[in-house]
């Protein structure tokens, strides 16, 4: 199973490689880095932080769809639970932001461990349906559980002081934290994908029976990748909760699961920079259409249909095909 690979394979040894980046990827990464450093001077930082949180969420999702070929249609569960736990611990226990975010990530990973172990018992479309159904179960749980605040969510979450020292009340201070969190986990995902472990994941994507016959316990690999992805999704959700000071049912709803799929589809599944670009475009359209009600949903639907019908490589995938280098 899995989404057909769209990137050209380079069989020859790469002459240039820094931290697993090829030359084209290194240039793209420097551009991304420059954009992250320069953007807050021109664009509203809160919007940028939102984009970065969703970009991280999308990268976590891409780890599964792009490199293992698993379509998890319920990633909102881990993102949303991460956001709830970070918000709750920061507000009720008064934990410092870095610990609260870490707890959010651990919650996502723990939930992912349970849900993932169940879902990998089936493959292909069933895997997608099971992850979606489990996420919906989690949604109903959040709707009723007392700590989530039901329809109101958890509001007025303090951003707190980083390490108990540096106040994050100003948007610029928070932006630096979000940018660092994003970069650390972005590079972690990149590192994982280009490690021997990542090679096994790709082997599973291409041909699972063959990977099994080579002696790999594919279910274990899938589960580890799933837990890693859900951990990072939880980190992204927790960070977002601190940025906006709120955690609500929107973050655990199935629509959020659909949105992260859309970001990957639009940006380019299986590329390293695609999810970031996809998240940026989707957040920008949502911002632009904020007053237009259900037209946001219609637009997202149209992008879905258009991407599937004629644009399956996504923005970054198309660029990569154009310059004939993986991005």
């Amino acid at each position: 199973m899995g989404v057909t690979t769209v990137l050209p394979r380079t069989t020859a040894a790469r002459p240039f490689s820094v931290f697993g980046f090829s030359s084209a990827q290194a240039v793209a990464f420097l551009l991304l880095l420059a954009a992250i450093v320069l953007a807050p001077f021109g664009i509203y930082p809160v919007f940028l932080m939102k984009v970065l949180c969703f970009a991280l969420f999308a990268c976590a999702f891409n780890l599964l769809i792009g490199f293992v070929g698993l379509l998890s249609f319920g990633h909102a569960a881990y993102f949303g639970m991460g956001s709830y736990v970070t918000a709750w611990t920061a507000k009720t226990w008064g934990l410092t932001p870095e610990i609260a975010i870490l707890l959010g990530g651990l919650t996502g990973g723990l939930l992912g461990c349970v849900f993932g172990a169940l879902a990998i018992r089936r493959q292909g479309l069933y895997f997608a349906m099971i992850t979606l159904a489990l996420a919906q179960m989690n949604y109903f749980f959040c709707l009723q559980a007392p700590f989530t605040g039901g329809e109101d969510g958890i509001q007025q979450v303090p951003r707190g002081n980083l390490f108990g020292l540096i106040s994050l009340r100003s948007d610029m201070a928070m932006y630096v934290v979000v940018a660092v969190v994003f970069l650390v986990f972005f590079l972690l995902i990149h590192r994982v994908v280009h490690s021997p472990f990542g090679q096994v994941l790709k082997a599973i994507r291409e041909n699972e029976p063959r990977a099994t016959s080579l002696g790999y316990r594919t279910d274990d690999y899938k589960l580890i990748a799933f837990v890693l992805s859900t951990f990072i999704a939880g980190i992204a959700g927790g960070t977002k909760a601190l940025v906006f000071g709120i955690a609500t049912l929107t973050d655990v709803n199935y629509a959020m699961s659909g949105e992260v799929v859309l970001m990957n589809l639009l940006g380019g599944m299986g590329t390293i920079f695609g999810p970031v670009i996809g998240a940026g475009i989707i957040q920008w359209t949502e911002n632009a259409l904020a007053g237009a009600g259900a037209w946001v949903t219609v637009t997202q639907g149209v992008i879905f249909v258009a991407c599937v019908l004629m644009f399956r490589r996504g923005v970054v995938g198309e660029i990569a095909a154009l310059i004939k280098r993986p991005l």
């Binding site: 169940l118 109903f140 949903t297 219609v298 997202q300 992008i303 879905f304 599937v308």
Partner: protein, 311 residues
Amino acid sequence: MISIFGVPGPLLFGQLSLGLINGAFYALLSLGLAVIFGMLNIINFAHGALFMLGAFAAWMMLTPNTWLGMISPGLSVPDWLAIGYWPALIVAPLLVGAFGLLLERTVIRRLYKLDHLYGLLLTFGMALIIEGLARNAFGSSGMPYRIPQALSGPVDLGFMFMPKYRLWVVVAAAGMCLLTWFVIERTQLGARLRAATENPDLVQAFGVNVPRMISLTYAGGVALAAFAGVLAAPIYSVNPNMGSNFIITVFAVVVIGGMGSILGSIVTGFGLGIVEGLTKVFYPQASATVIFVVMVIVLLARPAGLFGKAA
């Protein structure tokens, strides 16, 4: 008063009948999903949206002056346009089925050579478009739909009074399920359909127009969803989100039952509705999640589903 396990009889039977109704919708929707999956190898995420379209079509046929008035105020609407419930039960599925035919011919057809996951993504996108447009046109709040005259009021079953309409929904849904089963398992058309599911190339070589059969299968599955939508209109308020709430639960039903068997889908659908109804009586907090819990148990004990063959 009868009391069973310490629960008063009327409460128990009341929830059971509600559970049966939900089960009727699960059965109709999962049956449609299974039929479409068998032929097209696509999980039709738009199924919930098309169920909702069926309900809206019925509502439009009941009160044409309301929505025609929204489009052009002051328009005089002839009375014959309000055809009411019974004709809508036939016309709405035909209309929505025709819409499904159009979708298959123009869009879904392009995906057959691709990975099956793209079908899920595409139909998810279509569901978003349909629901978004419906929300724009009608708002998020529900439209009331009164129960047809002949079916209002209760009926005495001897041990309980049941609203006539609930009984009708269960009977109509079960009848439609059996009809579908009969067509697929006992007619020549169904035999060709099953053969084409197994080996489309060979069936085509025998001179059967398989692409047309695929289109009609999709239209048929969609019409089943619309039929369920018309049945649902008087029970739930007719609103743009009614389908998306249902469809994810129906996915769980499909995982539990497995998509291999027609009769299996029907039995699983009704059975889970009853389980849900019983949970409402004995432990109401879990009623929203019980089907998913059952799914977890089935995945642990019998991963291929109750009626499924090992994948």
